[in-house]
Amino acid sequence: MANNRMMIKFFIASESIFFLMLILAYVNFHNSVTTGPTAKSSLDPYVTGIFSLFLLASSFTVWLAGKSLKNRNRSGLKLWLFATIVLGAVFIFGQAREWFGLFGRGITISSNVFGSTFFTLTGFHGFHVCVGLVMLSVLLGLTLAGDFKGPKSDAVECVSLYWHFVDGVWIVVFSVIYLWAFL
C-alpha cells in the first residue's frame, strides 16, 4: 500500500530534523573547546573512514536486495540481505572499537562539549544502525521462512529506505566530525 511508503518517508523527514539538531549542537561547539579533547586530538579519520566504507557498501547491497526482490530472485534477496547485515555489523564493530579506544584514554561524554556532542551524535547514529540491523534480520528471517516472493514488498522497500537514510546521515556526520577537523 502507498500508506506504508508515505509513512516511512515522513518518518525519515522527521528523523532528519532530529539529527539536524544533534549536528547543529556539534557545529555550535566545534570551535569553542578550550580544554580537553577535540576531534583533532582524539579521533583517527583513516580507521573510521575505512569502517565507513563498509556502511556505504551496505547501502549498495540493500539496493541489490531490492533488485533481487523485483526479479523474484529469492536466493539473491537472501544473499544481499545477509551481506547488508554483515557490512552494517562491521561498521558497528568499528564504532564500538573507536568508542572503547576513547574510553581507554579517558575521553567520555562528560569530558567536555566535544565529548558530549561527539558521543551523542555518533551514539544516536549507531543506535539507528542497530535498529536497522534488527529490522534487516527480521526481513532475512522472514525471507528464509518463505515470505517476500516479490516483485514488491512494502516491508523490504521501507527498511531499505530507512537504511539508505541511516547511511546518508553518516555521510553528513562523518563530514562534519572527521573531514572538518582533518581537512
Binding site: F29, S116, K152
Partner: protein
C-alpha cells in the same frame, strides 16, 4: 498488495470497537479511532481538572500581598506543573484526540491509516503524563523550573532534585506519541479520503489538522533532541547546556523555542479548525473565503518556523536578530487577521443561531483578538523589554491559549458531543457554563495586563503590598474561582447529559460535513454508505439536489488514490 508481512497480519475481522463489548478491556485494547478519541478526551478532562486545581492554588496564594500559604518551593512546582499540564496534557492531546475521532469521519474513512500506531500515540500520552506526575510522589517533588526549564537552572548544579528529569522524560514520552499521531494524520488525510473528497473540498478542520500534523512531524524532533541533551546532561554528566563546563545555556533557549513557538500554533490551529466548522453551521452560510482560511493556515505554519527568538529579546542577540524576529513575528498577524475577517464575514448577514457552540465560537474570536493584539505589542522589541517576564506576558498567553484554544475546545465539545454520545448537552447548563467562563476568564486575566505594566513579575511566590496590587490580585483570584465554578457546571453538564440528555439523532445541528451523515454515535465501521462527495458540503448537496454548491461537479467513484 502483492506481499504482506506475516508477523503483522491484516485484520480480516472487524477491529475491536464500540458496541461489541463494553467492558474495560475493550477500551484498553481498542484500536478503534473513536474509542481512542474518547479516551483522549477523558484523559485530557482529568488533566484539565488537575491543572486547574494547581492554578487555583497559585491564585489563592496570590490573593493577598505577603501571603505565606505556600512555600516558595511548592509554588515553583505548582506553576511549572500547571503550565506543563495545560499545554502538553490538556490542550494539545485534546486537539489531537478530537482530531483522531473526527478526521476519519470527516473524510469518509473507516479508520486512521495506522490504527495500532494510533493506540500507541494515546498510551504514550497517558503514560507520559503519569511519569510526569509521579514526580510529586518522589522525595524531590515535582519539577520546579518553569514550563520552559531554562538552563542552567534546570541543570545539575542548580536543580539537584529529580524534578527536571521527570519533566524531560514525561514530555519526551508524550512528545513521541504526538509525533506518531502527526505522522498518522498526515498519511490518513493524504491517502484515505473518500472518492470526490479532493483537497479543495476537505473540511477546514481537517485542513487545520493537516497543517498541525506537519508541524508536529517537523518540530517535535527539535524538542526531542533538546530533551535528550538535557537528560544526558543531568544523568551522564554531559555539558550541552552548562556554561560552567563550556556548554551553552542560550542553545537550550534556541532549541526550546525552535519547538516552542510552532507549538503555540499546534495549540491553536486545530482550534481555528473547530471554529471554522462551527461558525458556518450556526450562521447557516458556507464559510466565507474557504481558500483564504486554508491558505492562511499554511502561511501561519510556515511563518511559525522562523520566529522563535521573539521569546528571547531580553537575551541580547543583537539589534539585527531582534529586528528580524520582531518583523517576522508581526507578519503572522496578517494570515491570522485574514481568518478573523473570514469568520466575521461568514457571520455577516447569516441567520445566526446562538446555541452554546456558537456562543463559545463567537467569544473565541473576541478573546483571541485581544490575545493577538497584545501579541503584536510584545513582538515589538522595546515593549517586550519592558513587560517581559511580567504578568503582561501571563495575560497575553492566557488570552491566546485559554481565550483562544480553550474557548474553541468548549465550542467543539458542545458541537460534537451529540455525535460522540448520541445525546444533546443541556443548553441551559451550557449557557451557565458559557457566561461563567466569560466573566471568570476576563476577570482573572484582563487585569493582569495592568499588573504586568505596573511591574509585577511572573513566577514570584508572593509580592509586597504595592499600591493597588493587593486588590487587583484579589479580583484576579475571584475570577479564577468563577472559572472553577464554570468547570464544575461543565462537568455536571457532561454527567447529566450523558444520562438523560435529549436523543440527538444523526444531525441535530443540520450540519453539512460527513461525520453527520452517520448515526450518533457512529457504528464501529463508521458508515454503511459514504454519501457521494461533490462539493464542500456533501450533506447540503444531498438535501438540496436542485442547488448544489458545485453544480458542474461530477460524481466521482474512484478515490484520489484509487
Amino acid at each position: 498488495m502483492s506481499s504482506r508481512i506475516p508477523i503483522v497480519p491484516e485484520s480480516t475481522e472487524p477491529l475491536p470497537g464500540l458496541g461489541e463489548n463494553t467492558g474495560l478491556l475493550s477500551w484498553v485494547a481498542s484500536i478503534d479511532h473513536k474509542q481512542i478519541g474518547i479516551m483522549y478526551l477523558i484523559g485530557t478532562l482529568i488533566y484539565f481538572v488537575i491543572g486547574g486545581l494547581e492554578a487555583l492554588m497559585i491564585r489563592t496564594q496570590l490573593a493577598k500581598p505577603g501571603s505565606e500559604l505556600l512555600s516558595p518551593e511548592m509554588y515553583n512546582q505548582l506553576f511549572t506543573m500547571h503550565g506543563t499540564t495545560m499545554i502538553f496534557f490538556v490542550v494539545m492531546p485534546f486537539l489531537i484526540g478530537v482530531g483522531v475521532y473526527l478526521v476519519p469521519l470527516m473524510i469518509g474513512a473507516r479508520d486512521m491509516a495506522f490504527p495500532r500506531l494510533n493506540a500507541l500515540s494515546f498510551w504514550l500520552f497517558a503514560f507520559g503524563g503519569v511519569l510526569l506526575y509521579y514526580s510529586f510522589f518522589t522525595q524531590s517533588g515535582a519539577p520546579d523550573v518553569g514550563w520552559f526549564a531554562y538552563a542552567p537552572l534546570s541543570e545539575k548544579p542548580f536543580s539537584l532534585n529529580n524534578g527536571p528529569t521527570y519533566w524531560a522524560l514525561g514530555l519526551l514520552v508524550s512528545g513521541i506519541g504526538s509525533l506518531i499521531s502527526g505522522l498518522n494524520n498526515v498519511v490518513t488525510i493524504l491517502t484515505m479520503r473518500t472518492p470526490g473528497m479532493t483537497m479543495r473540498r476537505l473540511p477546514l478542520f481537517v485542513w487545520m489538522m493537516l497543517v498541525t500534523s506537519f508541524l508536529l512531524v517537523f518540530v517535535i524532533p527539535i524538542i526531542t533532541s533538546a530533551f535528550v541533551m538535557l537528560l544526558l546532561d543531568r544523568l551522564l554528566g554531559a555539558t550541552f547546556f552548562t556554561p560552567a563546563f563550556g556548554g551553552s545555556a542560550i542553545l537550550w533557549q534556541h532549541f526550546f523555542w525552535g519547538f516552542g513557538h510552532p507549538e503555540v500554533y499546534i495549540l491553536v490551529l486545530p482550534a481555528f479548525g473547530i471554529v471554522s466548522e462551527v461558525i458556518p453551521v450556526f450562521s447557516r452560510k458556507p464559510i466565507y473565503g474557504y481558500e483564504f482560511v486554508a491558505g492562511s493556515t499554511v502561511a501561519i505554519g510556515l511563518l511559525s518556523l522562523g520566529v522563535w527568538a521573539h521569546h528571547m529579546f531580553a537575551v541580547g542577540l543583537g539589534n539585527v536578530a531582534n529586528a528580524y524576529f520582531s518583523l517576522a513575528s508581526m507578519l503572522i498577524a496578517i494570515p491570522t487577521g485574514i481568518k478573523v475577517l473570514n469568520w466575521v464575514s461568514t457571520m455577516w448577514g447569516g441567520r445566526i443561531n446562538f446555541a452554546v457552540p456558537m456562543l463559545f465560537a463567537t467569544a473565541f474570536i473576541i478573546e483571541f483578538v485581544v490575545g493577538g493584539l497584545s501579541g503584536v505589542a510584545i513582538a515589538s522589541v522595546p515593549i517586550d523589554w519592558v513587560v517581559t517576564d511580567s504578568y503582561f506576558i501571563v495575560a497575553h498567553f492566557h488570552y491566546t491559549i485559554f481565550g483562544g484554544s480553550l474557548f474553541a475546545i468548549f465550542a467543539g465539545v458542545y458541537y460534537w458531543f451529540p455525535k460522540f454520545t448520541g445525546r444533546m448537552m443541556s443548553e441551559t447548563l451550557g449557557k451557565w457554563h458559557f457566561w461563567l467562563t466569560v466573566v471568570g476568564f476576563n476577570m482573572t486575566f484582563f487585569i493582569q495586563h495592568f499588573l504586568g505594566v505596573m511591574g509585577m513579575p511572573r513566577r514570584t511566590y508572593t509580592y509586597h503590598d504595592m499600591p493597588y496590587w493587593g486588590s487587583m490580585n484579589l479580583i484576579s483570584t475571584i475570577g479564577a474561582f468563577i472559572i472553577a465554578l464554570s468547570v464544575l457546571v461543565f462537568i455536571w453538564n457532561i454527567i447529566v447529559s450523558l444520562r438523560k440528555g435529549e436523543p440527538a439523532g444523526d444531525n441535530p445541528w443540520k450540519a453539512w460535513t460527513l461525520e453527520w451523515a452517520t448515526t450518533s454515535p457512529p457504528p464501529v465501521y463508521n458508515f454503511k454508505l459514504v454519501p457521494p462527495v461533490r462539493g464542500r458540503r456533501p450533506l447540503w448537496d444531498l438535501a438540496h439536489p436542485d442547488s448544489p454548491d458545485e453544480p458542474d461537479a461530477k460524481i466521482v467513484t474512484e478515490g484520489p488514490n484509487g
